[in-house]
Structures are given as structure tokens and as C-alpha cells.
Symmetry: C2
Subunit: 238 residues, 2 copies
Amino acid sequence: MASSYMVMAPKQLEDPLAHLPCSTVVQYKKGQIIYSEHQPATDIYLVLDGKVKVTRLADNGRRTLVDVYKTDEFFGEAAMNLPRRNEQATALTSAKVMVWSSAEIEDVMVKRPRLGVALMQILVRRGIELEHRIDGFSVDNIKRRLARSLIRFAGRMGTLESSGTTAMPHMTHELLAQYVGTSREIVTQYMNELRRQGFVRYSRKGIVLYKEALQEWLRQNRQEAPAKENTFSLPQPA
Amino acid sequence: MASSYMVMAPKQLEDPLAHLPCSTVVQYKKGQIIYSEHQPATDIYLVLDGKVKVTRLADNGRRTLVDVYKTDEFFGEAAMNLPRRNEQATALTSAKVMVWSSAEIEDVMVKRPRLGVALMQILVRRGIELEHRIDGFSVDNIKRRLARSLIRFAGRMGTLESSGTTAMPHMTHELLAQYVGTSREIVTQYMNELRRQGFVRYSRKGIVLYKEALQEWLRQNRQEAPAKENTFSLPQPA
């Protein structure tokens, strides 16, 4: 109730996979399109194996990366509302996905309501992440946004090595640029800078991140880098 | 199924209010805090009357506006996941809200699963809006983001006048800045520019927007204003 502001233990999160019946499995090759903005779709997908990127087409034709999804993660959930538009899903590696129509998911939700709770928790978490990303656009400059993005993807897709570094799969500078909201050229420039500063090593094979050092750099430089290009830049001519 | 990419009619959206039992009603005065980041809360709220703003505290202490909620809209849904943090809700006008604990909502969802479908549709819509906002950060400069924000709030909170203009409640430049992701000073500067260009009139009483003219300006200036300060600015010194 409104007045009960006690400290509560983190609540038990539901597992949607415990409630969903098996469905069609589809295999995609690396680079293959799963759905595109030209096919308004109404299906919901679960990654069984591999990685899938979802991008959006913005008004001016630029593409932004919504996220990269991995095993046991859902994507395409926008179809729960209306046929999805402006969104494209592509297999980033060879990938296996399970597919349900949104009508099927709704049917199961009605029969097994805990599925609704589980999916809602996922959506709420994604909403919080998106809000956090918006905070970043408001307060961070591009280099800091890039650093945060690397730390985030390392957390999502990396494996901790005995040396304390995190090894993560190769991500092109173009893909990072679509997430950070900048051009490929600027990502390349800052990746070079981060490499010279010793925070990252990268090659075609993958990225190795000195995550803790980079987190420390973010903390220490908090006041010195106040989002110049986003937040306090001089206005452009009208 | 995966292969059925037919064109479908927009689906019927569920109304969550058809499924929720009545609960405690709380009245707040203008400016009163409903919940704050100091009280991790687990309640979900519905606006019965008035307007409520939800803000988030970013890492560097800046505040960003998540949204302004009006009659029949939910807020505080982050509590469906874990006790909410970094978020504050404030009555923007005097406001009346109905309050449920997230545990109560879950109980009702299990008894009346269509509530789950309804809430999920709301969350998906909010997710799409957040993604759209991220697109804006990636591709638009601050003036265009401000223009889009005015059009959005006019659509959400404005009333169409016989002259074709849209009248909407007063929003401080500070509040707009927290939504656009910039400083109050820069919003004031661009609001002056938009006023001089004839797109907006404003006073303490409210904002009058020439919405269609502003939409046309956004369309016509699409190529001319490519997000300099966000997307292509020169890097700051490391």
C-alpha cells in the first residue's frame, strides 16, 4: 500500500520459459534477416542459440541498435502491441530461434497467468535500461557513452578471464556507433583513444576490456566531461 | 507463425481498468512528492485526476524527465520488477491517484490474466516510445529534439483550438530541458527562436503550438540539420 515504505527483499523473478510451450524452431545463417521493416510482423522470438541484433530505422534513414540478444532472451516483443514497424532483426552470428505468434503468447498468458507476470518483469527491466540509456544521452559525451556501452556489452556477452580482463565477441565499430548514437568514424577515433589509454584491446577476433579500470576512469572523470556536445553546445544557426 | 507475414488489422488493445479492483485513493497538492529515490517503493499508481511527472536522477546528479502522466495513465511500473530506485514522482498539478502494491497487481493478474495482456501492451508501447526518443538523440540536434518534444506533449496534453493551433498547459523550460536532455538556458534560447519563427507562443498560463507548421519545418529541415552536436561533433580532449 501507499504508506508501507519498508525495505523489502528483492522479489522473486518469474521465468517465462517455465510457462511457454515449445514452438517452431528456425535456424538462421550469420547476417540473415529474421524480420525487416518491410514485413510488419506479429511474432515473438526467443534466442535458443547464437546472437541476434535488432535495429530501428530513424526518420532520417539512420539505423540505431536497439540491442543484441543472446540465448534465453526474447526479442520482437513490440508485436504484443501492434504489428511491428521500423524494426529489423538480423542474425549476428549463426542463430537458432523459437517463434510464437503474439496471439499464441496471449493465449498462453490467459491459461498460465504467471507467464504474463514474467514477461512484464522483462519489459519493465528493458524500460529501465532504455531510460538509463536516455540518461546517458543527456549527461554523457560520446566517449563516455562508448565506454559505458563497452562495459554493458562486456557484462552481457563477455567472459571474465583469469587476468581480470573481460573477453567479448567482436563488435564492428559501425554496430557500436548505432548503439552509442554517433558515426562509425567517431567510434573508431575513440576506440583508438581507449586503446592508447590501455582500456581496451581489439581485433577481428574480439574485444578484450579492462572493465574495472574503465569503470574507475568513468568515476574519476565524472565532473570533467560534462556532455559538451549533447548538453551545452552552442546552438546551430536556425 | 514465422512465415505468415500477412498485413493484419491493428489488434484490439485491452483496457487494464476493466480488470483492476478499486483501491486506495490519495490526493496530492501541486509540487508534492508522491515517491522519491530515498524511498525504494513497490507501488503502482494510476492517475485519476491531474498530472504527475516522473523524473530520474542520473549518475552525475542531473535529473531527466521520464514523462508526464495524465488521467487514466499508470506510473511507477518499474516496481513490477524490483523496488524502484533513482526515480521520483511529483504532482505537477494537484492530483488524485489510485495506489496498488505490485503484489496486489500480480495477484489480480493471476486471477484475471487479461490484465497482464493489457499492462504488457502499455509497457510495450512505452518501450517503443523510449526507443523513438533514443533515435532522436542519435539523429536530431537539440532544436529538433525540442520541436519534437513540444509536438509530443501537445499530442498528449493539448487541446485543438478552432484556429488550428494546439493549446497545452504551461511547462517550465527546466522541465522541457529535463526531457530534451539539455540545460534550461538552451531550451530558453531555442524557445525564443521557435517563437520568433512563429511556431509557438507561450506565457505562464500555457503554450500555444502551431503544430502542423512545426511538423512541416521538421520535415523540410531534415537534411539540413544533421545532429551536429550529438552525432558528428569533434571529440573533446581525452
